[in-house]
C-alpha cells in the first residue's frame, strides 16, 4: 500500500464518476425537471459511444469506420447522434405517460443493443470497435489518467453550468410546471409536447457524450458495456439517491454510488477466501439497501430540489 497507488485509484474513480455524472445529469433533465421516465439510458450511451468510436478509430476491415477524425468531431458527433436517435423516439413515445414511456424506452434500448450486436458492418458486431484513440494516451500510466480526468471534469463542469443556467431560466420553470401539472401548463399556453421533446433530446445528447468519453477512455467498446444493469439502472439509483431535480445532487449521487460500489469490493476482499465469491454479491445488495434506506427516510434524495424564486424550503 502506498499513496501513489491510492492516488491512481482515486483518479480512475474520478474518471468513471465523471462519466456517470454526465449520464445522471442527462437523466436529471429528463426525469428531474420534466418527469420523463427514460429507462433506456444504455441505448443513448451506446449510440454516443459507437458514433465517436466509428468516426475516430483506426481503419479496420469488416466494419464501417476508421475515419480517424479529431476527437472533438467524434464527441460532437456522439451528442448529435444520440440526439438524432432521441428525436424520432421522443416524437413517437412522448405521447405516452410515465410508465408507458418507461416500457417503450426499455424496448428501444434493447433494440439498439441488438442492432449493435448483429449489424457487424456498422459496429463490428459482438467483437466491437477497437483502436479508438485516447487523448494523452501516450503518456505514462498516471499522467495519462490525470489528463483524462481533467478532460472529463472540465466537460462535467461545463455541462453542469449550462444545465444549471438553463434550469434557472424561465425554461426551467416552465419544465417544472409541465412536470407538476401538465394540464395547467397547457392551459397557460405552453406547448407541452414540444417542450418535453426538447428535454428528451437535450438529456439524450448528454448521455451520448458520456458514452463517447467512456469509449475513448477504454480505447474499445463491445456490446457488453451496454448492459442495462450497469448503464441504465445504476444511473437511476444515482439520481434518486443524489436528489432528482437537483444537478448537484445528480453529480453527488454518481460519486456516492460509484464509491460505494467500488470501495465495498475492497472490503469484501478481506473476507476469508471460502466466502469471497459469495461476498461479491454483497455490494449489489449494499446498493439496493442504500436505495431502500434513502427512499424510506429521505425520498427527496441527499440534496433535494431547490425551488427557483424562493429560498430553499428545507
Amino acid at each position: 500500500m502506498d499513496l501513489l497507488g491510492l492516488a491512481n485509484y482515486a483518479v480512475f474513480m474520478g474518471i468513471l464518476i465523471g462519466i456517470y455524472a454526465l449520464l445522471a445529469l442527462g437523466l436529471n433533465i429528463q426525469w428531474g425537471f420534466t418527469g420523463l421516465f427514460n429507462a433506456g439510458i444504455a441505448g443513448f450511451f451506446a449510440v454516443g459511444a459507437y458514433a465517436s468510436a466509428i468516426l475516430t478509430s483506426l481503419p479496420a476491415s469488416g466494419r464501417l469506420g476508421g475515419y480517424e477524425l479529431p476527437l472533438v468531431v467524434g464527441w460532437l458527433a456522439a451528442m448529435a447522434a444520440a440526439a438524432a436517435i432521441a428525436w424520432p423516439i421522443g416524437k413517437i413515445c412522448l405521447r405516452f405517460r410515465s410508465d408507458y414511456l418507461a416500457i417503450a424506452t426499455i424496448g428501444i434500448a434493447e433494440i439498439i443493443r441488438l442492432v449493435i450486436r448483429t449489424e457487424g458492418w456498422l459496429t463490428g458486431g459482438v467483437r466491437g470497435v477497437t483502436g479508438v484513440p485516447r487523448p494523452f494516451g501516450d503518456l505514462d500510466y498516471m499522467p495519462s489518467q490525470i489528463a483524462y480526468l481533467a478532460i472529463v471534469a472540465t466537460l462535467v463542469l461545463v455541462a453542469y453550468l449550462l444545465v444549471e443556467r438553463q434550469v434557472k431560466s424561465p425554461w426551467g420553470r416552465m419544465m417544472r410546471a409541465i412536470r407538476d401539472n401538465e394540464l395547467a401548463a397547457a392551459a397557460m399556453g405552453k406547448q407541452v409536447e414540444a417542450r418535453r421533446l426538447q428535454a428528451f433530446v437535450f438529456g439524450s445528447a448528454l448521455m451520448g457524450l458520456a458514452g463517447a468519453l467512456f469509449v475513448h477512455f477504454n480505447r474499445s467498446i463491445t456490446p457488453e458495456a451496454i448492459d442495462p444493469m450497469i448503464a441504465t439502472f445504476l444511473i437511476w439509483i444515482m439520481l434518486i439517491l443524489g436528489g432528482s431535480g437537483n444537478n448537484r445532487g445528480a453529480i453527488l449521487g454518481a460519486a456516492v454510488i460509484w464509491i460505494i460500489w467500488s470501495v465495498s469490493e475492497l472490503l469484501t476482499d478481506r473476507l476469508p477466501t471460502e466466502i469471497a465469491v459469495q461476498a461479491k454479491y454483497a455490494r449489489v445488495f449494499i446498493i439496493g439497501l442504500t436505495l431502500q434506506l434513502v427512499l424510506r427516510f429521505r425520498p427527496e434524495g441527499i440534496l433535494p430540489e431547490r425551488q427557483a424564486g424562493s429560498p430553499p424550503h428545507r
Partner: protein, 401 residues
C-alpha cells in the same frame, strides 16, 4: 444530510479500505479477475477455483521467490468493461499485483488491457477471452491468453478441407457469436485459398423446419455443407433434414457439432459423410495431473475453462519466479518458461520448476489445456483434429494445421 457528513462518510470508507489492505513485503500477489456477477456467473466459480488450485500448488511446493507466499486477489470483472477496469485498477494500485489472470469476457479484456494493464505495465493472461480483437491490441507484449482465438478453428478447418480436395462448399451457421464468428473466419480463409462458397446463410434457433434454408443453400451446387451450430440443438435438425432430403453428400461441423447424442439420434450408419473439427486434449500427463488435483479439490473436471484458468495462474507464477519478482521482466520471462526449448514441466510440478529456475535452466511449461507456445501476439495456436463418426462416438483421422 450535511455535505460535511457525506464527505466524512466517504473519507471513512476510503480510510477503512486503506486500513483493511495490509502489505506483505516478500509475498507476491496476482489478481484473478473472474466474472463472478453478470451473464456468465455460472462459469466463474470453477474458473476461480482452478486458478486458486494453481496458487495452492505453488504455496504447497516451496512458495514463490525466496520463501514468499503467492496470494490471489479475487476481483469481480462482471463480464463488462466498467466493473472489469474498476476491479483491475484496484488490484494493480491497491493490492499491487504483478500479474492479472483474466478478465473472462473479451470486451472486459480489451478495456482492461487498454486502460489498466498496458499503461501500468502489468502482465495479463486471459483464460477465456476468445475475440480476435485481442490479437490486435498494441500490448507492449503484456497480454496473453491460454486458449486459441475464435478465428483459429474456422481458419484451420478451411485449410484442412482445401488440403482434402474440397473446393466448393455451402455454409450454414447459427446466428450468434459462436456460429457467426466461425463462419466469418472460415469464409475468409477458404476464399483466400481459392475455394468457392456456393451458399452462405445464417439461421435462427429452434425452428421446426430448415428445409427452405437448406434448399436455398443446395441451389449453389456444392456437395459439402459446413454447419456451424450445436449438435445437441438446431444443428441436429439441420443435419437430419439435409440427409432426409438428400440436399448434400458431405457434412462438416466444428466442435459444437461433435455430440454423441447426434450420432445416437441419427445413427452411425447414416453418418458416413459427417466430419467434425474439435480441439484435442494434448500433453495428457499434464491434463491427468490437473484432473486428479482438481477432483480432489471437490470440483467437476468437465467445467469449461478450468484447465485454461489453471494454466494462466500457473504461468503467471512461473513468470514471476523466473523474473525474480521484477515487473519489467515478466513478459520476457513468461515467454521463456512457456515456450520450447526447455525441460518440460507438467501441471502441478512447481517444486521441479522452481528448482530448475534456481539452477538457471530453461523450462517449457506443458499445461493442462495445451502447450502454450505463444506467437508474437501472445496467442496460442490450439490443437485441433479432424474427426469422423465411428461406432457410438468419434475417431480422429487427421491433425489440423
Amino acid at each position: 444530510m450535511k455535505r460535511r457528513t457525506i464527505a466524512g462518510l466517504v473519507g471513512a470508507m476510503l480510510g477503512a479500505a486503506v486500513a483493511a489492505a495490509p502489505a506483505h513485503a516478500q509475498d507476491v500477489k496476482i489478481g484473478l479477475m473472474a466474472a463472478i456477477s453478470g451473464p456468465i456467473a455460472a462459469l466463474a466459480p470453477p474458473m476461480a477455483a482452478a486458478s486458486k488450485l494453481a496458487v495452492t500448488h505453488v504455496n504447497e511446493q516451496g512458495g514463490i521467490l525466496k520463501g514468499g507466499k503467492l496470494e490471489a486477489v479475487l476481483g469481480d470483472s462482471a463480464c463488462n468493461p466498467q466493473n472489469a477496469t474498476d476491479a483491475a485498477t484496484k488490484a494493480v494500485n491497491i493490492d499491487r499485483v504483478l500479474a492479472i489472470v483474466g478478465p473472462a469476457c473479451s470486451g472486459a479484456v480489451l478495456a482492461t488491457a487498454n486502460s489498466v494493464a498496458i499503461p501500468a505495465g502489468v502482465l495479463m493472461i486471459t483464460p477465456s477471452g476468445t475475440s480476435p480483437e485481442i490479437t490486435k491490441l498494441k500490448d507492449k507484449d503484456l497480454v496473453y491468453r491460454t486458449l486459441p482465438s475464435d478465428d483459429y478453428q474456422g481458419r484451420a478447418l478451411a485449410r484442412t478441407l482445401k488440403a482434402r480436395g474440397i473446393t466448393k462448399v455451402a455454409v450454414a451457421y447459427l446466428n450468434n457469436d459462436y456460429g457467426k464468428g466461425l463462419a466469418e473466419s472460415f469464409k475468409a480463409e477458404f476464399e483466400a485459398n481459392g475455394g468457392t462458397i456456393a451458399g452462405y446463410s445464417g439461421h435462427e434457433e429452434g425452428k421446426a423446419s430448415y428445409r427452405s434454408e437448406l434448399a436455398a443453400l443446395a441451389r449453389g451446387g456444392a456437395d459439402t455443407l459446413i454447419i456451424f451450430d450445436y449438435g445437441d440443438g438446431t444443428g441436429l435438425s439441420l443435419l437430419r433434414q439435409a440427409l432426409e432430403n438428400n440436399f448434400f453428400k458431405t457434412f462438416v461441423g466444428a466442435d459444437g457439432m461433435k455430440s454423441e447424442g447426434l450420432v445416437k439420434a441419427i445413427g452411425a450408419a447414416n453418418l458416413g459423410g459427417f466430419f467434425v473439427s474439435a480441439p484435442v486434449g494434448e500433453a495428457s500427463a499434464s491434463l491427468d495431473n490437473f484432473n486428479k488435483a482438481y477432483k480432489a479439490a471437490g470440483e467437476n473436471i468437465d467445467a469449461v475453462f478450468a484447465t485454461t484458468s489453471y494454466d494462466a495462474a500457473f504461468l503467471a507464477a512461473l513468470a514471476i519466479e523466473k523474473a525474480g519478482g521484477d515487473k519489467a521482466k515478466l513478459a520476457e520471462s513468461l515467454r521463456a518458461v512457456a515456450m520450447a526449448p526447455g525441460e518440460p514441466i507438467m501441471a502441478g510440478e512447481w517444486a521441479k520448476a522452481k528448482k530448475l529456475i534456481a539452477e538457471g535452466k530453461d523450462i517449457d511449461y506443458k499445461g493442462a489445456g495445451g502447450d502454450h507456445e505463444f506467437d508474437a501476439a501472445g496467442d496460442v495456436p490450439g490443437s485441433y483434429a479432424f474427426f469422423k463418426v465411428s461406432g457410438p462416438g468419434y475417431e480422429s483421422i487427421a491433425d489440423m494445421k
